[in-house]
Amino acid sequence: MLKKKFAHTTITCALLTVLSVSLILPSSAAIVRDWYEDDVYVFGMVMNGEISYTSLSEDLSYKIESIYESEVMYTLTEIFESTKEVEVEAKYDSGNENTLTFYFDADLISTYYATTFFYHNYRWDEENSRIILIGFDADFGNINYFVEPDWELFNTNLEVLGDRTQVVDTVTHDYTTDEITLGDFLDAIPSYKIMGISDTKQTPFSISNSSTKWSMTFDLSNYIYESERDYIEETYSYFPYSRYLVDITLDYSDGGTLIAYDYTLSYEVTTDETIHKGEMEHRIRKGGSSAIRAPYNFSYVLLSFLIVPTVILYNKKKRNRMN
């Protein structure tokens, strides 16, 4: 009964996928830019941060806060097809102006995004003879505002983000070297969500070749550790973060104009001496500050739709194997 249901769901999803892929493919291949010479765009940016320390033994606390909201207006003055560069006149909220040149090459940009996205830092905890994660980030880095809408190539390059076999860090201890893969990392953390799908443990991902939106969330609470060095004893102490959440969303229009970028990081860790909390936020919105203040409706429907069949198929295979 359950198997039948599974098969039914899989077939339905597969059919829908084929349908949607066939609907998307002809158009995606023919997608044209929606940004042209003389176009004017206003982008709003927010970079906020708050870090606090509260002493456990003393009646002392410390907080640093920063808010940075800005708007920039880009007027596209020239597009260089041979070098895949676009020249823009940038005008800032300070009144300053300058000329900038951006690459819009889909291959170059997506390769950059894919290679800079993950940062993992594992270390050998000598006291407890174990490998622990002491540093993690997931961020697209410098965001490009205009991209050649070759989404097939773009998504092929981004596929590496879902490659569970990729080695994210190596740790050497006691004459041995351990390689930690993305799969090891994903299976060890409390939860994650990739392209709107949560907790797809031990599952490979594929990204639709027509996707123009990418989203990932990682919950590393109680998995990642704060490292503190004792400079006199030359030893390290490790304290687990009770909260460590990273959330990233990148959204382009079909024609390759940046619509939204969101990055948030929230953490809390209690060490021997202090409670350390942090909140970071980086957002970019097409439309300026008003767009940043407006609620952002990121739709996962299409993304989920395209990724679900792979997930279900894999789950089914695994179950069969286990049976």
Binding site: S55, D59, Y62, I64, E69, E71, D93, S94, G95, S289
Partner: protein, 327 residues
């Protein structure tokens, strides 16, 4: 009637002043209230916000930064001969380090008096005039404990209030040099408040030799200009708002109670409207003390300065602007 009234007030005030100077002689003998083993917690709060909006495209920008920390000093040694102290300085999240402080009242007040005001005038070639382009106060130093020799401290601080002191010299690019005195500066600005006394235009100031609190505020709106460098000539835009205030308050025994600095500015240039608010507070007692309204009393300060002010007000009516021209 008015004259009689003034003379009466002056006379009473002089009597009270003499009385207070007598009693304040004890203050020169004030003893420290900080010792080896003394533990004092301070709040240090620094914040800055900048808002901009471009005049043509209405592009908006906002930046805000703040740092709020509590610091505890535990004094571990005092060197009375060299006027130095050593304290453990503890900050949450950062840890404990050693703080070496200088405590000599004469040296500290001398440095403060020499560097408190920063006044900068320039020659505006386009407007063919002298313009004030910068006014700031030296608002931050790591002095928390001083030897309570208030007589020497106030003697040095008194230099600050010398109206004849030259605060800047500007040449117009030809043959003329302009020497601007503190009096010129004070008489040209919108208003000011020194030691609790407002708008004492063209008046001399004196400080009580027992004062442990000093307070200054200045309104330079539409008097000070923002300078924007040009290829051939610079452009100057008047600040529609430019207020600066500074307060320094020690206990009788020489422990810092409060150091506070605020500056609020707004200027419209050809390109944008810019608003800036900057504030630094260092207050004894930590964050809790900052939340509690401060009971800073000007009554004593006013009393000590009033007689001199009244005398001068009587003697002179204000002549306007005094730029001394040395051809």
């Amino acid at each position: 009637m008015n004259r009689k009234h003034l003379t009466k007030i002056s006379f009473i005030s002089i009597l009270i002043t003499i009385l207070m100077i007598n009693s304040s002689l004890h203050s020169t003998a004030a003893t420290r209230d900080w010792y080896v083993g003394t533990s004092v917690k301070y709040a240090l709060i620094w914040s800055e916000s900048v808002t901009t909006i471009t005049t043509i495209d209405a592009l908006e920008g906002f930046g805000y930064c703040s740092e709020e920390m509590e610091i505890r000093f535990d004094i571990i040694s005092i060197d009375s001969i060299n006027h130095e102290l050593v304290a453990n300085m503890t900050i949450a999240g950062i840890g404990t380090g050693e703080f070496d402080g200088y405590t000599d009242a004469g040296v500290i007040s001398g440095l403060l008096a020499d560097s408190l005001f920063d006044i900068d005038y320039r020659w505006d070639k386009k407007g063919d005039r002298l313009v004030l382009t910068d006014f700031d106060m030296h608002y931050f130093d790591m002095v928390f404990f001083i030897e309570p020799d208030w007589e020497i401290f106030n003697t040095n601080m008194g230099r600050l209030l010398d109206r004849t002191q030259i605060v800047d010299i500007v040449t117009d690019g030809l043959w003329t040099t302009y020497e601007i005195t503190l009096g010129d500066f004070l008489d040209s600005i919108v208003s000011y408040d020194i030691m609790g006394v407002r708008d004492t235009v063209d008046s001399q100031f004196t400080l009580s030799n027992s004062s442990t609190k000093w307070s200054f505020s200045f309104d330079l709106s539409n008097v000070i200009y923002k300078r924007e460098c040009g290829t051939h000539v610079d452009s100057y835009f008047p600040y529609s708002t430019y207020t600066v205030s500074y307060t320094l308050d020690f206990t009788e025994g020489g422990t810092l109670n409060l150091r506070e600095y605020n500056i609020i500015t707004e200027v419209t240039t050809d390109d944008a409207v810019e608003e800036e608010v900057y504030s630094v507070i260092i207050q004894k007692g930590g964050f809790e003390a900052v939340k509690t309204p401060s009971n800073f009393s000007y009554s004593l300060l006013s009393l000590m300065i009033l007689p001199v002010l009244l005398y001068f007000s009587k003697k002179k009516k204000r002549p306007k602007l005094g730029v001394i021209k040395n051809a």
